[in-house]
């Protein structure tokens, strides 16, 4: 059984600390995966975060052993968070590059969020998302699952253990809320 599968099983059995160990593993996997894919692609290609997350899932999780939706949920929750960090890190990195310096790393800026957005300022969105988390953590988590891991509303509902109707309400509200917040925060809109 591989590490991730083992951790998922531990989570399943109520080991709360196990979930924390999941994130770095998934984060590394996503980064490596993205780097590897980009190395193979022609320059200028972009990668879909959704595809990356799902490929990571297949690579990391022993699907035969992990069959509970709960476990999958934990995985995708971790993946959403990992993808958020990757994209935010990249956005920060791009910004900091202006200062120059000899910063060597694999360029991941060609990874696109799961949900298509043109010219969206990831950092501004992330800030707004932080604010939403303080107010309505469940809705914020739903946005992460949708936006960074590409889950559908019903899949995300399963992860969050809420009804689809609740998830749909959260989603509608969160979208409007974030959009409004982005304009209040002064980020570039539309």
């Amino acid at each position: 059984m591989n590490d991730v599968t083992r951790i998922l099983n531990a989570v399943e059995q109520g080991d709360a600390q196990a979930a924390e160990r999941l994130l770095p593993l998934v984060y590394d996997e996503l980064r490596t995966l993205a780097a590897h894919k980009l190395a193979q692609e022609k320059p200028g290609q972009t990668l879909q975060a959704t595809a990356l997350v799902h490929e990571a899932y297949l690579r990391l999780v022993d699907v035969d052993t992990v069959q509970h939706w709960n476990s999958r949920g934990h995985f995708f929750a971790a993946a959403a968070e990992a993808m958020r960090r990757i994209l935010v890190d990249e956005a920060r990195h791009k910004r900091s590059q202006r200062r120059g310096g000899n910063y060597q790393r694999i360029e991941l800026s060609a990874v696109e969020p799961a949900v298509g957005v043109n010219q969206l300022d990831i950092l501004a969105l992330d800030e707004a998302l932080h604010q939403l988390t303080a107010l309505d953590p469940r809705a914020a988590e739903l946005v992460k699952l949708r936006f960074f891991a590409g889950l559908t509303v019903s899949e995300a509902a399963k992860v969050l253990a809420v009804s689809i109707a609740t998830a749909e309400n959260d989603w509608a509200y969160a979208k409007s809320w974030l959009k409004l917040q982005l304009s209040t925060n002064g980020g570039e809109l539309s």
Binding site: H36, R59, Q104, A134, T152, S154, Y173, W177
Partner: protein, 917 residues
């Protein structure tokens, strides 16, 4: 944020459902009262909701690909035609199954399966209707009838079936711990059911455990095949899109798919496809897993997955069993023991299963009835029709080539038989025996070449050794005997080469810090290579170059092991600076392996042309190279890393990572990457352990890999884990002195001093000249263990002096010598040693030793105290404490029991009151 009592989300969500603007405004003022800002805000949110539909939503192109996402809406209580859904009883790739109550025309409970979205409902129903007549004619106690089909209100196709309260046959057998015989008896009934359907012209197309349920009636296990007609009606064209969900998961169960089903235009599926799936099912019932494991198939890319199913020869059930990690539990589930189970399956059962799994359907059982009949013959100890596959196949091929000759021959033989009658029986008996022994050898050789292809060398060797008794009789056909002998000789050579390759790792490893030890190890590896080749009839140094190369090329079956060994040999030989000999070896290798890419690499290395080597690591066809080449390229860079100063560790590592990506199951790649990361230490160790575990999994008999895994745990200070690994490694090779030294270190860190002493002594006994580490460590135990009565200053001094003599530039050894001298009350000598150690500086390449500098200072403090220099002593003590403060984040400094003890000793001597921490 919002402190008002208004639940903004609830109001928003209620309001957005009110279409009429006026009604909506009414609702808002009702919900928010006169809180105008709140009303304004919710209005704004509602406006965004309407105008910015696409914000954060998936792009349209994605939507188009994922057809229909809405989940199945039918719930318990829903009425579909004459059926009322009661409760959900299952969910699979194709649909959701409910228990349902039928009210008309008769009252009964049925199973109702609603097909998941993504299929054209009309087409599904039309296909079902086409087969409906035939389905209605099926009447067999082991078949659950399909009763009806239709369309739900939401437009989904559904099927109504006889309700079976059973569990999948594999689960049933395991739960009940059914022995093989009982499993076979159950399986025969399944075959008979399938035979019945086949006779009515119905092919199942999706036989798998979930469709073969076992229910108990009157305490009797009754298998029931379900879903006849469903798979055909719902069949889709096989494309990447139909096989994978948007989650990337494989839809349905590919493990049971026949080779002809795995073709993109699967036009002519016939009953023999079901025979194949039955074969997979039997395989699983016997061996506990399917011939190709799900993980492997689903991990593979789509085309690769189909290729495996279509082309790859699966291992026989007995082989699968013997290579399974979980054999004990598989055996227990079959009410058996591992050895007994393997024996039971080996032979006839292997043959029966493999006949059903033939890639060419013409060579499978031609009917389910004949499949069942052969199993029954096996159960009644009658000779089965299936035989060792190779012999039959070879004969057929032969027959195809010599059809007419054979016909005449058969007639002639018949005539002779009649004429000679009983006289010939002796000859026939001997011939029969010969044929049997030959058959045995053929089966073994076939298995050997399969294992060789997977580079499972030691398994191949073990299998080949099974041929020895048969060879000893001398009865087999001479050509086969020759092949078996050659295979044995080849694999023996591989064993020695792989062992030497594993050993030669220490030439480059961290345990080699001086040029003298390095060249000594290199000479040793060099001689081992020479001897292995010489004993295999390839005396590289005395044969003419061309002749040597030809003899190597002749062993083409093992070239994937021989060529990398030659590369490694060149590397260790070049340490010895005998340029002529190295050139000669390079010459042999050049002729034996004409591959241009590798030639370029070797030439660059020989010329010390580092820039070409570097260019190769980024060349576009790098990924096309075999694993061994990539591993060697990495080794070449790694061994000469000082030549690539501008290269970061990560970049060198990238060569390996790319290789590992391409060859995730290659032993050497995983091993190298694991070693690389583990010795990078810090945050890399855990990842390194992952790869090392992969290496161990691929080659569990590798003592070095197991020992290196232990080293990983040692760096993490998980000493129990580490010790377990070292012990296992030593079971595999008791003379692994590197491992013994590592074991000693872990034991000593745990405070198991007696055991540690034993491990170090053994390591030193084996290699007195190379185990400097063990010398120093053992010395430290003798001079420093907590119980002062058990200390042995004399021995400690002896050992440390030897370590210093062998490796004078390593500060650790001087520390050990200083402590030993201190224990002998030789203050001046001790002082010299500690000064020397501090002057050399701490070697951080060994994570577990990084507190050495603090130890030096503490002891130096005590030395000065003993010499009466109290001020100097205090200064040294302060240095030590300061050093500990500066490095307190290091695991070792915080946790090391020895360091704490030494500090306490110094504080007591210097009369410094206990620090409060």
């Amino acid at each position: 944020m919002d402190t008002q009592q208004i639940d903004e989300k609830a109001v928003f969500n209620a309001a957005r459902r009110i279409a009429d603007a006026a009604a909506r405004d009414d609702y808002l003022s009702q919900a928010c009262g006169d809180d105008q800002p709140a009303i304004q805000r919710i209005r704004e949110l509602l406006r965004i909701h309407e105008e910015e539909q696409s914000f954060l939503e998936p792009p349209a192109a994605d939507l188009a690909l994922t057809t229909d996402h809405s989940p199945i809406a039918e719930r318990p209580g829903t009425v579909i035609g004459p059926y009322k859904l009661l409760q959900q009883i299952g969910e699979g790739g194709m649909g959701v199954v409910f228990m349902a109550e039928q009210t008309e025309p008769i009252q009964r409970t049925v199973a109702l399966k609603i097909i998941k979205p993504g299929m054209d409902t009309r087409q599904v129903i039309a296909r079902f209707e086409a087969e409906r007549q035939a389905l209605a004619m099926m009447d067999h106690p082991n078949i659950a009838k399909v009763l009806d089909a239709g369309t739900t209100d939401s437009g989904r196709p559904y099927f109504v079936m006889e309700l079976v309260k059973g569990v999948p046959i594999t689960k049933y057998c395991d739960d009940k711990h059914l022995p093989i015989r009982a499993r076979l008896e159950l399986f025969v009934q399944v075959c008979q059911a399938v035979q019945h359907a086949h006779q009515k012209g119905i092919i199942h197309r999706d036989i798998k455990p979930n469709n073969v349920l076992v229910a108990e009636y009157d305490n009797r296990a009754v298998p029931k095949v379900i879903d006849f007609g469903v798979a055909k009606a719902t069949a889709q064209k096989l494309t990447e899109r139909t096989m994978f969900t948007e989650f990337g998961q494989v839809l349905g169960t590919v493990e049971y798919m026949s080779p002809e089903q795995a073709k993109l235009n699967q036009l002519d599926i016939d009953t023999r496809s079901d025979i194949y799936s039955l074969g997979v099912l039997l395989y699983e019932l016997v061996a506990g897993t399917t011939p190709f494991e799900r993980k492997r198939l689903t991990d593979a890319a789509f085309d690769e997955m189909l290729r495996i199913i279509r082309e790859e020869e699966p291992p026989k059930p007995s082989t699968k069993l013997s290579s399974s990690d979980t054999l004990p539990s598989i055996a227990a589930n079959r009410h058996s023991e591992p050895a007994r189970l393997s024996k039971e399956v080996h032979g006839e059962l292997d043959w029966i299963v493999m006949k059903a799994l033939e890639k060419d359907r013409a060579r499978r059982y031609d009917s389910a009835a004949n499949f069942a009949a052969d199993i029954e013959r096996h159960l009644h100890d009658e000779p089965v029709h299936a035989g060792p596959p190779s012999a039959v196949y070879r004969f057929r091929k032969f027959a195809k080539r010599n059809r007419t000759a054979l016909a005449t021959g058969a007639l002639l033989a018949l005539g002779m038989l009649v004429a000679l009658g009983g006289i010939a029986s002796g000859i026939w008996e001997r011939r029969a025996r010969q044929a049997r022994v030959t058959g045995q050898l053929e089966v073994i050789l076939e298995e050997v070449s399969r294992l060789e292809k997977d580079e499972k060398w030691s398994e191949a060797l073990m299998t080949a050794r099974r041929a020895e008794p048969a060879l000893a009789t001398g009865e087999a056909a001479p050509e086969i005997q020759e092949r078996a002998r050659q295979a044995l000789a080849d694999l023996e050579l591989v064993r020695r080469l792989e062992d030497t390759r594993a050993d030669s790792g220490t030439v480059w490893g961290t345990s080699t810090r001086t040029d003298t030890t390095r060249s000594e190890l290199a000479v040793q590896a060099e001689q081992a290579y020479a001897a292995a080749f010489r004993d295999a009839g390839i005396d590289v140094d005395s044969l003419p170059v061309k002749e040597a190369a030809e003899r190597i090329t002749a062993r083409d079956r093992i070239s994937t092991a021989v060529l990398p060994a030659l590369d490694d040999w060149v590397a260790v030989r070049s340490v010895g600076n005998d340029e002529a000999a190295t050139r000669r070896l390079v010459g042999v290798l050049r002729m034996a392996d004409p591959d241009p890419w590798r030639r370029q690499m070797r030439d660059a290395l020989a010329r010390k042309d580092w820039s070409t080597l570097q260019v190769l690591t980024t060349s576009t066809d790098l990924d096309e190279q075999p694993a061994a080449t990539l591993g060697f390229l990495y080794a070449a860079i790694d061994m000469n890393q000082t030549q690539f100063p501008e290269w970061a560790e990560n970049e060198r590592e990238l060569v390996l990572r790319r290789a590992q990506w391409k060859y995730p199951a290659d032993f050497w790649i995983n091993h190298r990457l694991g070693v690389h990361l583990i010795w990078r230490q810090g945050e890399h160790v855990e990842e390194g352990i992952g790869y090392m575990r992969a290496a161990v999994a691929v080659r569990p008999q590798s003592s070095h890999a197991m020992s290196n895994l232990g080293a990983g745990y040692t760096f993490l200070r998980e000493f129990d884990q580490a010790i377990a690994c070292y012990r296992k490694s030593l079971e595999l090779r008791p003379d692994n002195w590197v491992c013994l030294g590592n074991l000693g270190i872990s034991l000593s860190r745990k405070g198991a001093h007696e055991e540690a002493i034993a491990a170090f002594e053994e390591a030193i006994r084996l290699r007195p000249d190379l185990t400097t580490e063990a010398h120093a460590e053992l010395s430290m135990i003798h001079s420093n263990r907590p119980d002062a009565h058990l200390r042995n200053a004399r021995r400690a001094a002896e050992l440390a002096a030897k370590a210093v003599e062998l490796e004078p530039n390593f500060s650790n050894h001087w520390t050990a010598l200083g402590i030993a001298r201190y224990r002998e009350s030789q203050w001046q000598e001790a002082r010299t040693a500690f000064d020397k150690s501090l002057q050399l500086g701490t070697d951080f390449s060994h994570g577990v030793f990084s507190w050495e500098e603090a130890i030096d200072w503490f002891f130096l403090a005590m030395v000065h105290w003993q010499l009466g220099n109290h001020d100097e002593a205090r200064k040294c003590y302060d240095e030590a404490v300061q050093w500990m403060d500066q490095n307190k984040l290091q695991n070792d400094v915080q946790n090391d029991e020895q360091l704490r003890r030494i500090r306490a000793e110094a504080e007591e001597l210097l009369k410094i009151s206990k620090t409060t921490e």
